[in-house]
Symmetry: D2
Subunit: 341 residues, 4 copies
Amino acid sequence: MTAVTRTISVGVIGAGRIGRLHAELLARRVPGTCVGAVYDAHRPSAAGLAAQLDVPLAAGVEELLGGDLDAVAVCTSSDTHVELIVAAARAGKAIFCEKPVSLELGELERGLLEVERAGVPFQIGFNRRFDPGHASVRDAVAGGLIGEPHIVRISSRDPEPPPLAYIRSSGGLFLDMMIHDFDMARFVAGSEVVEVYAQGAVRIVPAFGEAGDVDTAVVTLRHASGCLTMIDNSRRAVYGYDQRVEAFGPGGMATSENPPIHHGTVVGADGVRHQAYPSGWTDRYIVSYQREWEAFVAALRAGAPPPVTLQDARAPLLIGLAAWRSVHERRPVAVQEVVAA
Amino acid sequence: MTAVTRTISVGVIGAGRIGRLHAELLARRVPGTCVGAVYDAHRPSAAGLAAQLDVPLAAGVEELLGGDLDAVAVCTSSDTHVELIVAAARAGKAIFCEKPVSLELGELERGLLEVERAGVPFQIGFNRRFDPGHASVRDAVAGGLIGEPHIVRISSRDPEPPPLAYIRSSGGLFLDMMIHDFDMARFVAGSEVVEVYAQGAVRIVPAFGEAGDVDTAVVTLRHASGCLTMIDNSRRAVYGYDQRVEAFGPGGMATSENPPIHHGTVVGADGVRHQAYPSGWTDRYIVSYQREWEAFVAALRAGAPPPVTLQDARAPLLIGLAAWRSVHERRPVAVQEVVAA
Amino acid sequence: MTAVTRTISVGVIGAGRIGRLHAELLARRVPGTCVGAVYDAHRPSAAGLAAQLDVPLAAGVEELLGGDLDAVAVCTSSDTHVELIVAAARAGKAIFCEKPVSLELGELERGLLEVERAGVPFQIGFNRRFDPGHASVRDAVAGGLIGEPHIVRISSRDPEPPPLAYIRSSGGLFLDMMIHDFDMARFVAGSEVVEVYAQGAVRIVPAFGEAGDVDTAVVTLRHASGCLTMIDNSRRAVYGYDQRVEAFGPGGMATSENPPIHHGTVVGADGVRHQAYPSGWTDRYIVSYQREWEAFVAALRAGAPPPVTLQDARAPLLIGLAAWRSVHERRPVAVQEVVAA
Amino acid sequence: MTAVTRTISVGVIGAGRIGRLHAELLARRVPGTCVGAVYDAHRPSAAGLAAQLDVPLAAGVEELLGGDLDAVAVCTSSDTHVELIVAAARAGKAIFCEKPVSLELGELERGLLEVERAGVPFQIGFNRRFDPGHASVRDAVAGGLIGEPHIVRISSRDPEPPPLAYIRSSGGLFLDMMIHDFDMARFVAGSEVVEVYAQGAVRIVPAFGEAGDVDTAVVTLRHASGCLTMIDNSRRAVYGYDQRVEAFGPGGMATSENPPIHHGTVVGADGVRHQAYPSGWTDRYIVSYQREWEAFVAALRAGAPPPVTLQDARAPLLIGLAAWRSVHERRPVAVQEVVAA
């Protein structure tokens, strides 16, 4: 709209699966952006990505942060996020950070404090907010189409469980998977969560249970507004990604349904058959990743705060920690209990 | 709404499948009506129906027409309709007549002329106009939601072919089956049909072909308004009744889709499966039969003309005759050619 | 199937809304049944119904039970059910009883004990089990299509709140409304419920809160099998009856979606619009009422136990009582706690 | 699958809208391909594209064809296709040509003859065959799921009319728009078309009529197999791209429905509302363009004939010419009449 013309240059730190995804989007699909540099502690990964996209390779984080970048994308493993956020904030770069900032509340607060001190723009990577279907539910609520939400329902089921090794350092289902839904609940309801009751079960991969995790869970949340949210997660849905969101209020209901792989149908004597849902991660959500960058870049251009904030980085972690405590203590847990701990 | 209170008493002539249907609706489901008498040339049928519904049995048409009835429902075989219409018109009864009035144009005109002379209310049984889904297409057009229709599409496929014996006296597909769709095209487009191009094929029951009929057909109609309608018929859809209507115009599209048997769904690794469509005639259309009576009765009470008129009885027959000529002569046929013949 | 021919004669006790519904179904729609007598303490109601259906009017319960009936349908207000069950059981009649048997556990047990002693067939009126869509979810589970359920989700929202007077004696939302869903959860999961966590809110009718009730609620259930069920209820959905059931397991998912009022659609520049859901109680569920009678009658004819049992009458009450305790004590409550109380 | 490793190098001739689309797909999305050179008579267009994708710019067609390319993509205006095909065939390059080869039958035959002589692989750009939904209809037919087709229905409506200037050289609706549907009819039915009856109307843009074109059309096709196809086209559907395909046979029906923009829904007192369809050309069909390249490349690697053949380039033109004759002569026209002309 406005006559902003300068390309936003982003340094991508981390050249694993998610880093490559972001780098490709920035280099090729997000209008007005480029990849100013890539870095990964595993040098061959970074070099391969740099060559593929024909972008500069940085020798280290310092070199990358010292360059002429507008922003950095933190796409490394979770345990390195806080250090990188601190360094990027001190270097005055705008920060896009993949979720989670940290699995530890103290660490998270340390990182966010540094961001606040530096006053740099910050966005946490809750990409699902930018899925057109899910966003339409939020838009319906924000636009007053259904009134103040009374009930929110979220189903979130993955096509395949992650590797056991991942589970061991992921924080478990409530922090590695349902954290997206905690964010979605806040986003859709437009109100913070004050209490959590969580139940988990091991129904799919017994080894997950031995590692202290669950693979099936149902959670109810009570929001400050009085809204009640129900979430269910499963580590494996044989029919593909199952990611549905629903908000119900005095004026009606807004839902986001699963997109089928395609819209072909066969109708025979045995009924109607059509495709189920994508099982590929990017098939399901690539548009949301592109749109989260467009929103971040638009905020940078406008000098406005990015749409997914520090509080959005913090609150789902608190809910996730409260969910684990609820499972272990078999009782509803106030989010405040976790903060105070 | 208004304070009309008197029950409308209807004499039902014909106690076959369709006569019993109408009688039961009038006796039990249509508010403010009763069956004043039933008659059938096959006395046991009439007696059985009269006993079942606990209503009077008439010994003959004269006795029935001589009774204190508001209306008669003509539900006998088609070749007797005109005689009964004439008798009922002369007796001053309002007439509801199952379609068709006659397969012969001269006969039809003779019957309708008598109705016009007598000035009695008359409604022809094109029940599908009263199907809530189909009616919603007409309502969308009439309400200006899609603008003046440019294209109408109608699919009409039966679950099972009729018996060969029926075919031999039915007038064939264009007069026994597609006649409903000719009426629907006029109803939805809101414009008379001026030209017909019809193609037929024998794909399902070879014996139908030997009897001079087809079991598969596609037809295009040109309306006076310029609207173009496409109709397809098949005598057998293995998945149940397939009856879809669509009107397209400059403002959009209105459609009537097939209702499934129920709304349960199974989603598995092989996709999504749900029910196809009813194969029972009354399952699919019982509501439309009830609603056509409600409309007829409402017109009688209001002293208004019934909503499906003499012209609606005549026009589809003309279109059907033109369709047969088109098939035989392999060219588009003006409806006017048939009238003039 | 078998050559059973005798008509099953049912005495209907209670001629209010639900009694009239059952009587009309038995008199006219359920094959092989008749209404042997009707009785209501409010004699004009009973007389009106008897006249309408042309069936005998009983002067009292004793007279009705003394007649030549195969079964009785108990359709009076809930507080009279136990007395009538006891009387009918002692009279050796098969019993169909509207839910609930009683809101008090001791009373319920007294009634069921008498039924067990008498050995008469008994069916409780959880009609929704016979809704074709909901039944298809159970059938999918029972047929092994989705495997052992891990998660069940039920949404149950009424078009309009009941009168406040009803609330005052109904037992409240968990006993007058969600009790259907407690039954559905057991039915679909195929496993008893062992623990309940319930949350309620007053969002719609403040006076319900003053009367000690809630109008919005979410509940999670833990079944003996490990299945986790989530239920939400609202007293008012502006878009009509919202009654959805979903079972998820290792083999996939079975769902029962809401039937629209009709299947017409309008597609315009502003998107696709179609009908929402019936707001009439019988529009939504009439088929289920007819099918529950067909199942009851089939069991009587076969000498088999009716499909909805004494345990099905008891268990949902226990879950409902546990739900209320959970709301009041703000903790998960074992169903066993309620039994032991 | 096999160990083929060499990248397929494609020269792109034409750097307009469709040329850029193909070049970007080849450079970035189609696995195992690259753009070996680009050329456009409008040099700045070619230079811009070459720079954007960092690929070589050819100074002329001869230079391009003289290079080390495996294939060429002919993406220029239609009237230059034949010359380029001839040149590419003589240079021994595999040829991918956008449709149509030519609007003149003689020219088309001349080009195709040269391809046959050279024996080079050739594919015509009927991309819609590769749309996953449409392809599923063909797959259902080819897999025997619905039996031999009796009836095919195709609706194809564009979101916006093209510019009048385009109309003047496009060959008109039957050659610039419905030609896709003629190909689809042959593809889905698996049988050549032998007779055409076409009707057109000017309902949207009067100037199109003055230019000798129509903007609304309905056509019926008779296939050699006896299958009957109905097609409708409109130059403007206010709700976006409307592209539906349906095949009906003795075993059932396969359909390809319109994908909505997203799968969010709002349910209120006034019904259910959701998104209509994309109005952007690439939004609707980008996947089909990628998949047509994947199929072409797979054929080249396997040494197999490409899946869309010379006959597929020829037959729809014949049908289109027959359609125009049918409109002008107001009668069904045999395709053979056009060939013989």
